[in-house]
Symmetry: C2
Subunit: 295 residues, 2 copies
């Protein structure tokens, strides 16, 4: 069983296309919606009493187990940010942790038996607590962010020692390693533990380092990017949903990269889950053919 | 016959790896050395009386016809620039046109019969004068830069109406079109004339737009980039040397992109032509295999 932990959030986002207030977001949300296009999964997270029950019901209707979502008295995690110009970098205006500040992930017996675990970007201490509860995780993948790299490096490094796959963006990879090239940076991260290093590069696609191999996947070129929020988590969801059932080979990794890239391309075409939440697997298949034609 | 026009220069370059003073450079130089790995060609340009005759002799030894290089009284074009951090952008400290200010390209009868013409980055007025002299160019490819986009837009647009392929970097593509996405920008450029739009993205590879197709090539990942100067011109050289002999199809375009990407990866591994000038076609073949394995 595939298990994922991370954040559910209300996002306030401004991009050149407009502004949305308190729309649904959060790393776990994006990951789960993306993954559920091809795989059922269970999620663990926390929301406030202001969080719409309909959204959780909608997640369940997609095959996402939400028993692990604690509803706590108080407000849901809120992120406010903006993107300028070519939307290459998010500027954070405000982060209100709210109930996320007291999050203590507790896994059910079924969840403890998970065979594949994705740790979306939250405090590495919490990510570690999840790993500690899983009995025999076959495959663990994690994300993180510059904030934890700067403020909790020892905890993050301890986590990486127990992780199989990291899925970081390019800035994080360089911030974590201080190296001057991707090849050197990937080696440095592999030295910390993970055998697979994925480097997300936004509109430039992603690279994957595994043993002596380097794989590349382009980003599917959408006509216009409306909001890149959640693209990285959607990529991770598409990737991990594809990979976790298979032995790791260059072929299964390649297929997973393509699925991640394709699914995340829908995320950026609108705010929140407006586009990602409305596509069908046939849309993924069509865009996969178009992506493969770019090679 | 393949003909190329552009600049030969002395470059003073500072990168995190060090500084070099008055080393050989110039867009035409990089293009020609890259192209000559697989094709003979003729070049048209201007140098000052300070330019080493040995370099021209070395070019000739590579199958590059240098009869079109005028040696003028005075100093060779000089560019001084630097790259910081991850070497993604060149900062220009000084540009001394010197003899390039009086350059007036004159083609010999043989050159006028050229079937494929590359116009490296120089004043679009001069680029146009070259086209005007070629009797029946089968295929014309050109580069440019932000400076001409800003200062000679009408002349550049007139040029583009007569060009088949543009090979611009991403910033130039957006500066020229003012569009928000690559797809839209490529369409806008195709509307101006060229049927093929190549967008160079440095370490992120390159994209090519042709009819309804989008092709992508990653950059070969070198261990460390020493100096990116000339990478774009080397890419163009590898690409055009491969393409110009063939009918244009998705396959010939793809092969040309790969050759461009591979050959430019050698350029960045050292200053000037230290690495590019010392490789053999077998090195290109080896790296091509490695690049194809990334797909």
């Amino acid at each position: 069983m595939l298990l994922a932990v991370g954040s559910l959030a209300f996002d306030t986002v401004t991009t050149p296309s407009g502004k949305v207030d308190n729309v649904l977001g959060g790393s776990l949300n994006y990951f789960a919606i993306a993954a559920s296009l091809t795989e059922p999964l269970d999620i663990v997270g926390v929301v406030g009493s202001d969080f719409p029950a309909e959204h959780l019901a909608w997640l369940r209707s997609r095959g996402i187990g939400t028993n692990g979502i604690q509803v706590m008295e108080g407000k849901t995690f809120h992120w406010e940010g903006s993107y300028d110009g070519r939307l290459q970098e998010a500027r954070t205006h405000q982060t209100e942790l709210n109930v996320l500040a007291d999050f203590d992930p507790q896994l059910s017996p079924t969840q403890k038996a998970a065979t594949a675990v994705f740790l979306a970007n939250i405090d590495p201490v919490l990510q570690m607590r999840v790993i500690d509860q899983v009995q025999a995780p076959g495959l663990i993948m994690c994300d993180s962010m510059n904030y934890w790299i700067a403020s909790k490096r020892p905890e993050l490094e301890a986590l990486l020692a127990r992780v199989d796959i990291v899925c970081f963006n390019e800035q994080e990879v360089f911030a974590l390693t201080g190296k001057g090239s991707l090849r050197q940076a990937a080696k440095a991260i592999q030295y910390l533990g993970p055998s697979i290093v994925i480097v997300k590069r936004g509109e430039y696609g992603a690279m994957l380092f595994y043993q002596d191999s380097v794989l590349f996947v382009p980003a599917y070129l959408v006509d216009a990017v409306v909001d890149p929020t959640g693209a990285g988590d959607s990529f991770a969801g598409g990737f991990f949903a594809s990979l976790h059932k298979h032995d790791i080979t260059i072929d299964t990794l390649r297929r997973a990269l393509i699925q991640g890239s394709v699914i995340s391309s829908f995320t950026v075409e609108d705010f929140s889950f407006r586009r990602l939440g409305s596509i069908q697997i046939a849309d993924v298949a069509r865009r996969t053919q178009a992506l493969l034609a770019m090679y």
